[in-house]
């Protein structure tokens, strides 16, 4: 009889660890020291008042020193899981869901690049409303993209109110969860209003938020007044927010990677403390774009191994803290979708997948985050597919080590027609879409295409496919009206300085 195994531990998936628990603790307690002894600058008086009222020391108007016990207390009310659910389909179902919790990995794009690669001319230029919509349509079509951020700033709309237009462009393109940006609290309020309309009421939002907000402290240790205003608004309105810095090792953070982790954690812990004081249970995601200033070019590196390594190490820290992680991958310093873009994206996506956390953004970035590329986005979908196959690991069971089949096939035999092969080959092997596995002759016959041509073909196919609008004309007009009202309110401020 088949006896069940006991005392047998299984790695159901591969495991990766950068830091030991001892190292994580060393970093955490170093952060507490910085927060308490060095303090941070908070330029939002309301934020300073809240912190001061609850026990923080304030010097020089805005230098805030937060004692450790305040951090410990904030952690006790901090949610360990944050859920964001996308917009309803025609049938009313919100089918895209992200449960951001320890060891779960979701991939999505990055936000607000000034430039994009035109899908038809392949030229780099300023991004527009139509680009954002197109990229959202592509993201909607890709099976391995779980959330969307605006892969381009809408620069053909008013500058001071671009955020509402950008959100509308995204809503037109995708029902997947969105991580938005906002110009200010007013812009955030408008976008929340738009989400309510799109959801069919505030009650739906209460069931599950449909977007999160991206905001960031400025390294080193500095907190913008408008950003803190948005943070407080999120707490008051049940909006999950990402509070993550972009420290550059050697420039805006210590040159040593451990020092980057200490400083970045300090910056995010400040956001955690303030949010939990404002509203216990406020939903925070921390992490960041942790990288270095490249000391040869002064560029902030998006494709460096240090970026991948720092993100993975920070994920170890967030697992220990039990707080959702905002990770980075699928991005590159290359100026076009080429071998470098492919290489850097593969390596950093692989590491992000292995470490497993949680909301992995910036898929589709090239040129160190300044340009979005539809081709890069589509290629990364394939890379993520490969990584996901790897993450399935290797089960070791009597079925997967088929001693009897091996014996029956015997030396010199083959497995092609065996029941065992027929049972498994479809699930055991990942099926590539864009990778070419033809032999030489068939590949030549098919036109000797390098991968970039197949990738670009896929981009055009998606964009040229016929699609139903995600919502009707009436709703579109309602959403658009919020954008127009905002433009109206701010029309004096533009001075005719449109960027595009």
């Amino acid at each position: 009889m088949e006896v069940h195994k006991v005392n047998y531990e299984v790695n159901a998936t591969p495991t990766l660890q950068i830091l030991t628990e001892d190292e994580i603790e060393a970093i955490y307690f170093s952060s507490l020291r910085v927060l308490e002894e060095t303090g941070v600058r908070c330029y939002n008086p309301e934020g300073v008042d809240i912190l001061h009222a609850h026990g923080a020391h304030v010097e020089d108007k805005n230098l805030v020193k937060v004692p450790s016990w305040m951090v410990e207390r904030a952690r006790s009310t901090l949610p360990k899981k944050v859920t964001v659910v996308g917009m309803p389909d025609k049938d009313g179902k919100r089918k895209y869901r992200m449960d951001l919790v320890k060891n779960s990995a979701y991939w999505g794009t990055g936000s607000d690049t000034p430039y994009t690669i035109d899908p038809y001319t392949l030229k780099r230029r300023r991004s527009t409303y139509q680009d954002v919509k197109n990229l959202a349509i592509i993201a909607e079509a890709l099976p391995n993209i779980d959330f969307f951020m605006s892969l381009g700033i809408t620069q053909d709309t008013a500058v001071g109110t671009y955020d509402r237009w950008q959100y509308l462009a995204m809503l037109e393109g995708t029902n997947k969860p969105i991580n938005i940006t906002a110009v200010d609290v007013e812009g955030l309020r408008d976008q929340l209003e738009m989400a309510y309309i799109r959801l069919g009421g505030k009650e739906e939002w209460k069931k599950a938020p449909a977007f999160s907000l991206y905001i960031e402290p400025v390294s080193p240790l500095s907190h913008d007044p408008i950003v803190i205003g948005k943070l407080l608004f999120c707490c008051d309105n049940d909006i999950p927010f990402v509070y993550t810095p972009c420290p550059q090792a050697g420039a805006t953070a210590p040159c040593t990677l451990a020092g980057v982790l200490v400083q970045a954690l300090t910056e995010s812990l400040f956001g955690i403390v303030l949010s939990q004081l404002r509203k216990p249970g406020a939903q925070v995601i921390i992490g960041g774009l942790l990288s270095q200033m490249d000391m040869q070019t002064t560029v902030m590196a998006y494709g460096s191994p240090e970026m991948a390594l720092l993100s993975a190490a920070y994920t170890d820290i967030t697992k220990w803290l039990m707080v959702p992680m905002y990770n980075t991958s699928g991005c590159s310093d290359a100026k076009m979708f080429d071998e470098q873009a492919a290489m850097e994206a593969t390596l950093n996506t692989f590491i992000a997948g292995l470490i497993g956390g949680n909301m992995i953004h910036d898929v589709g970035y090239i040129e160190s985050g300044l340009t979005s590329s539809p081709d890069m986005l589509v290629a990364c979908d394939e890379i993520i597919g490969m990584v996901k196959r790897f993450l399935q690991g290797i089960p070791v069971t009597r079925e997967t080590v088929p001693l009897e089949t091996i014996d029956q096939v015997g030396p010199g035999g083959h497995y092609l027609g065996t029941d065992h092969t027929l049972r498994h080959f479809k699930t055991e092997f990942w099926k590539p879409v864009l990778m070419d596995r033809l032999d030489w002759d068939r590949w030549v016959k098919a036109g000797s295409k390098p991968m970039r041509e197949r990738v670009h073909q896929r981009v055009l196919e998606i964009l040229q496919a016929e699609r139903e609008p995600l919502f009707d004309e009436k709703m579109y007009k309602e959403l658009r009206r919020i954008c127009e009202l905002a433009d109206e309110r701010h029309k004096g401020e533009e001075m005719g300085i449109g960027i595009v």
């Binding site: 050697g250 000391m295 290359a334 100026k335 071998e339 290629a379 490969m386 001693l403 030396p411 990778m435």
Partner: protein, 491 residues
């Protein structure tokens, strides 16, 4: 003073738990003991029988104690030496370290100047060795091809004869049979200063390949016996194809590859106890749509990691596979697939990773792929080096002195660490758009091609001894005479 402080030296990565490895280990022994292998070498069967194997005709079954005894004799840690004694080029096999190099026997080669795919010719072995010698992250040398323009029996010998003078990095040599193994060995020991000196400091590794499923061919074992008798470190590596010549589940694939390797291991250790031995396998899948043996599949990388862990559990090093692709050209697919398996190999830390530079599913060797992967390996090695966490790197005092809104660009702490903490790319371009455009808006492949050509035109490998040069000339002349006389006899 900190105490009880455990750190990770580099990243920690696992596919299997200890319990799963124990299961796989005993499953492998089960295959060897109950199913056994067909061993097509009479002398090998006799040696194994004398050592306790059960032999029925050509079928050889190994009681598990024999394999465990062999495993206990094979070293986990040893050194492969650069022929010129350059300490930077020595390979220290041991826990936690991954080394990389090309693979053997592709029929085709990408000409570095015309960029055409053409048959591999004599001079190509020289080019490959030169590029291997120059690339910082390529640690050992194989030829990336089978020479087409010499007598078919001599291609392996010519490869070695052309590679050896052009790199001082350890070479992994393959051969057809005893004759050319002997000739290759003569070259290597001449440079080392004789057989005894070679045994103390081996400067090449001998490669042999059994057949899946579960067949030890005459050629593979004959070469193995040669290597064991001359104490040449051994690579014994099957290429089981999941779904065709091995179970299509990766765990079954791994167990079978291990069984095939350990037959060779047991024979080698019986003849030469303590002989450095790499178990192996190119463990990948049959693509069920195109019917090719995939060198770019994620399953290859995953199975290699699993096999590495099993090898390390058993206490011996692994002949790993990575940096290879199914792509037919220098493109994004080649970068993706090559980088993927390189990173996997670096993470699992095992031990000699070959086939860096394979394209077209091992049909074509490419210096461009090799050179591009040098960058991916450098990248991966920066990741697997991990993060050092101590008082100085935590930098609390530095953060304090810089303070909010300050910057670290001029801080002594930055000046101390910026060179070692960061990896600097050579092919990945980090310039901003304006500077990149001004330099010609080149995609990475153009930089790769330029770098390979620059190495070929400028790199001078360390020379070999005069007597070695003479021996090379002599063994080649002898070999030519030998094949001439055999061919005449045949006629």
């Amino acid at each position: 003073m900190r105490t009880n402080y455990r750190v990770n030296s580099g990243t920690r990565f696992h596919v299997f738990s200890k319990d799963q490895l124990e299961q796989l280990f005993w499953d492998t022994l089960h295959i060897l003991e109950y199913t056994g292998l067909d061993v097509h070498h009479e002398e090998a069967r006799e040696i194994l029988k004398k050592a306790g194997a059960w032999v029925d005709g050509i079928r050889v079954r190994l009681p598990s104690y024999m394999v465990r005894k062999a495993l206990s004799m094979a070293p986990r840690s040893f050194t492969l030496w650069a022929r010129d004694g350059d300490p930077k080029k020595n390979i220290h096999i041991g826990p936690g370290r991954a080394y990389f190099g090309p693979g053997p026997t592709c029929p085709n080669f990408i000409d570095p100047y015309t960029l055409e795919r053409r048959p591999y010719v004599k001079g190509d072995a020289e080019l490959v060795a030169k590029v291997v010698d120059a690339l910082p992250n390529i640690d050992f040398c194989e030829s990336l091809g089978s020479i087409s323009d010499v007598h078919v029996d001599l291609s392996a010998l010519y490869e070695f004869a052309y590679m050896f003078p052009n790199t001082s990095k350890p070479i992994v040599a393959w051969s057809f049979r005893w004759d050319d193994s002997e000739a290759i060995h003569k070259i290597a020991i001449t440079e080392a200063g004789g057989q005894e000196a070679f045994e103390r400091r081996p400067n090449y590794v001998h490669y042999c390949e059994p057949v899946s499923p579960l067949v030890s061919t005459f050629e593979a074992l004959d070469k193995l016996i040669f290597a064991a008798r001359h104490r040449v470190p051994l690579v014994f590596t099957p290429c089981p194809i999941a779904g065709a010549t091995a179970p299509c589940t990766l765990a079954g694939l791994i167990a079978q590859a291990a069984a095939e390797s350990w037959m060779g291991l047991t024979l080698a250790q019986t003849i030469a106890p303590g002989l450095p031995f790499f178990m192996g396998g190119v463990t990948s899948i049959l693509d069920m749509q195109t019917m090719i043996f995939s060198y770019g599949a994620p399953e290859l990388a995953l199975a290699e990691c699993g096999l590495t862990e099993l090898a390390h559990y058993a206490g011996i090093p692994l002949w790993n596979t990575g940096g290879c692709t199914d792509s037919k050209t220098l493109d994004e697919q080649a970068a993706i697939e090559g980088s993927f398996s390189v990173m996997a190999a670096a993470l699992c830390g095992g031990d000699l990773t070959h086939d860096v530079g394979y394209t077209e599913s091992a049909m074509t060797g490419s210096l461009f792929q090799l050179c591009m992967m040098d960058e991916a390996i450098g990248w991966s090695r920066r990741v697997t080096r991990g993060i050092e966490v101590n008082e100085e790197t935590l930098a609390v005092e530095v953060i304090k002195s810089v303070g909010p809104n300050g910057h670290y660009l001029r801080h002594p702490h930055t000046r101390k660490f910026f060179k070692t903490e960061f990896w600097y790319p050579t092919l990945c371009d980090r310039h901003n758009y304006e500077e990149w455009s001004a330099a010609g808006s080149l995609p990475m492949r153009e930089r790769v091609i330029a770098k390979v050509r620059e190495i070929l035109e400028t790199h001078t490998p360390p020379p070999i001894k005069k007597e070695t040069r003479d021996v090379i000339e002599k063994v080649l002349a002898d070999a030519e005479a030998r094949v001439k006389s055999t061919d005449t006899k045949k006629k």
